[in-house]
Amino acid sequence: MADFLYQLLLSFDATLRIATPLMLCAMAGIFSERSGIVDISLEGKLLSGAFVAATVAALTGSAWLGLGCAMLAGIFMSLIHGFACITHKGDQVVSGVAINILASGLTIVLGIALFKRGGQTPSLPREDRFTPIEWWGVDMMDSVPVLGTIYRQLISGHNMLVYVALLAVPLTAFILYRSRFGLRLRAVGEVPEAVDSAGISVTWLRYRALIVGGALCGIAGAYLSIAQGGNFVREMSAGKGYIALAAVIFGNWKPLSAFMACLMFGFLEAATTRLEGVALPLIGEVPTQLMLAMPYVLTVLLLAGFIGKPRPPAAIGKPYHK
C-alpha cells in the first residue's frame, strides 16, 4: 500500500513534468483565444521555441539566452499569425495550419543548415540546460515521514521552468480577471465593437494578446529542448500544442480549469508510462495503443458534451470589420 502511494506520488511528480509545456501553451491559448483569435498555431510556436532555444543554447552556451530567444521566436510566429488574421483579416484556422507546417519545415531546414545533423541540434552539456533545482532543506525534511517525501519528490527537484509554468497559471488568472489589460482582453473576445467604441484599439489589443501567448509558447519550447530535454529533435512538439488547445476548450477558456485539464492529460500520460505492460486488477493488461490513445479518446468523449457544452468567447474566429 505504502509502495502504491509512493508510486502515485511519483506519478504526480511526472504529471507535473509532462504537464509543464501543456500549461504554458494552454495559458498562451487562453490569451489569444480570449482576445478572439483561434490559435491552433500553438503547436508551431512551441516547436519554433524549442528549436530556437536549443540552437541558441548550443551556439552560445547560455540557457538563459536560449530561453530569451525562444520567447522571441514564439512572438515572431505570433506576429505572423497576427499579420494574417488581424491585419489582413485572414482565416485564423488556415493561418494556424500554415504556421504549424512552416514551423515543421523551417526548424528542420535551418537545423540542417546550421548543424548538419539531420535536423537535430547538438546535445547540450548539463551546464547549458535548466537542470533540476534542489530546494533548501530537502535533506532535513527527509526525516519528516510523509511530508518529507512529498517535499523532496513533488515540490523540490524540478527545473526552473516547471515553477515558471506553475506561476503562469495564477498570473494568467490574475491578469485576466484583475487587470485593465484583462478586462479589455475579455471584452475584445466577446464584443470587439464595444472595445473599439470605448476608444481602445482592437488591433493592438489582439496583437498584445498574441505576443504574450507567443512568449509563453517560447518558454514551453525552451522547456522541451533545454530543460526537460537536452537538444532539439525534429517534430519534438509531438502534438502537445493540440493537446494544450484541447485543455483550453475543456477548461472553458478559464485559466484554472485549463490548468486542471493539463494536469489530467499529464497524469494520463504519466500513468500510461507506468501502467504499460502491468496487469491491472479486473481489466488485465491494457494494450499500449489504447493507453496512448486515452487522451484523445477522452478529449473526444468529453467534448461530445459529457462535460456540458463549452462556451467559447463570442467573437472568436471572426475578423473584426469596422
Partner: protein, 509 residues
Amino acid sequence: MNTALELKNVSKSFGLVKANKNINLAVEAGSIHGIIGENGAGKSTLMNIIYGMHRADSGEIHFGGQHVDVRSSADAIEHGIGMVHQHFMLVPTFTVLENVMLGTEGGLMLRDGRGAALERLLHLSETYNLKVDPHALVSDLNVGQRQRVEIIKALKGGAKVLILDEPTGVLTPQEADQLFEILKVLRDDGVSVLLITHKLSEIMDITDTVSIMRQGEMVGHRKTSETSPQELAELMVGREVLLEVDRKPAKPGEVRFSAKNLGYTNAQGVVELEDINFEVRSGEILGVAGVSGNGQTQLMETLAGMRHLTSGSLNILGTEVTAADQTDPRIIRDLGVGHIPEDRHTHGLVLNFEARENMILGFQDTGLAGDGKLFDYTAIQKNCEDKMAHYDVRPPNPRLNAKNFSGGNQQKIVIAREFSANPGVLLVGQPTRGVDVGAIEFIHKQLLELRDAGCAILLVSVELDEIMSLSDRIMVLCDGQNVGIIDSAKADRQTLGLMMAGQRQEAAA
C-alpha cells in the same frame, strides 16, 4: 451662436457605395438636433465618422470651432463626444460596472479605479434618473435597462456632444418619453444632442433643429418649428409620398390557421411566448403589433417550425401540431405555409448564391429544380426569369449573387419565391424593412391581392402604420403575451400604444 460641432464636406465610401457625399452640418451647443433619412441614407456612417469609428475619406470635423483630426474613438471621447450606437455595444458577460469602466479603468489594476467608477456611475444614474444595478450582469438586463447603461457609458467622460443612433427603436413609447426627459435635462446642461430616429413624431416633439439625408447626401436643414412632417417625409424620399393603402373590406372564409395556448420556452428556460391564442381565416390579414423584442420573432419562428413550441398547439390547414411533434420548417412548408422571414439576410436568402438559386431556396425538392435526379438549370433559370419579370426585380439577372441586389430587390426575390408558391397560409415578417417607398407600395398591393385570393395571412411589423393600414384584425404582443386582438377599424395609435406597453384591451378601451 455657439457651434459645438461642425462638419465640412465630409465624404466616405465603402467600395463602390458612397455612403456620405460632401456632408455639411452644424450643431448648436445646448440643442437637440435631429437627423432623419431612409434606411441606408448614411446616417450611422456619418455619426461613426464623428465618433472616430470610421475615418472620412475627405472633409473636416470641427469641435467647438476647432479643427480636429479624429482618428479613433479615443480622440472623439477626448474631445467630449459620447455615442449610443444603433446596435448595443455592451459585453453581455460583464457587469454593468465593468461595461462602464471599459476604456476608463483608472489604473493598471481594476481595483485602482473601481471605486471612482462606481461613484461616477451612481452619480450619473441619480442625476439623470438612469436606474440600473451596477453589479447586475448585462445579459440579465432588458433592452430598456441596457440602453440606460449605454447612455451612462456615453456620459461618463462628461460628454459635450451626445450622439444617439435610433435609440427609440427598441423602447416602448413610455420608455421613449422617459428618455426624452433625460435629453432635455442634458440640453439644459449645455450638452448638444444628435438624435437619429425614423419617427417623425419624435422629431417634431423634441428636436430644435433637424437635418435630412437622402442617399448619402444632406438634402436640407430645418428649424423644427418651421417645418412639418409632410415636408420632412418628402425631403427624405425625394418625391411626394402617398402612403395610404387602398384596402377593400375583407371577406373572411374558413379558419385556416390557429394557435391554442401556444407557449415557447427557450433552452435557457426563459419563457418567451405564453398562452397565445388566435385564428386566421382565409381571405384576411391578422396583424401582429408590438415593440420589437416582445416575442414577435419567436412567434414567427415557432409558427414556421424553426423553433419547437413547448406548450399548446397549432392547427395548420387542418393538421394539429403540438409540443410533442418534432416540427421543422420542411414539415410546415409541406402543409402549405409560406414564410417571408423578418430578417431576409439571415433567413430568407443565401447572399452568396445566385438569384436563381435563391429563387428555389426551400423549394429545392420540388419540380422547380427540375424533374429528374439532377438539377435542371434551364428550368431553374426560366423559373427565375419569369418571377423576376412578374415581381419587377431589378436588375433582372438570374446569375447575379443575391448580395449584389439592393435591399428592396432582395426582398422582392423572397416575396416572388414565397408568393408564387400559392400558399394556403402566409407568415409575413417585416415585409418592408429597409425598402423604398415604390417597392413598399408594390409589396402592399401584392399582399392584399393574395389576401383577396383567399390566403390566410399573419403579418408582423414594427411599423404601426403598416399594421394599421394592411390588417383586418390586430393582435398586440407584449412580453411574449397576447395583450388582445382588436378590429383594425377600431384601432388607433393611442390604443395600440397603450396595449404595446402591456395594458390589456379591456382596460384600454
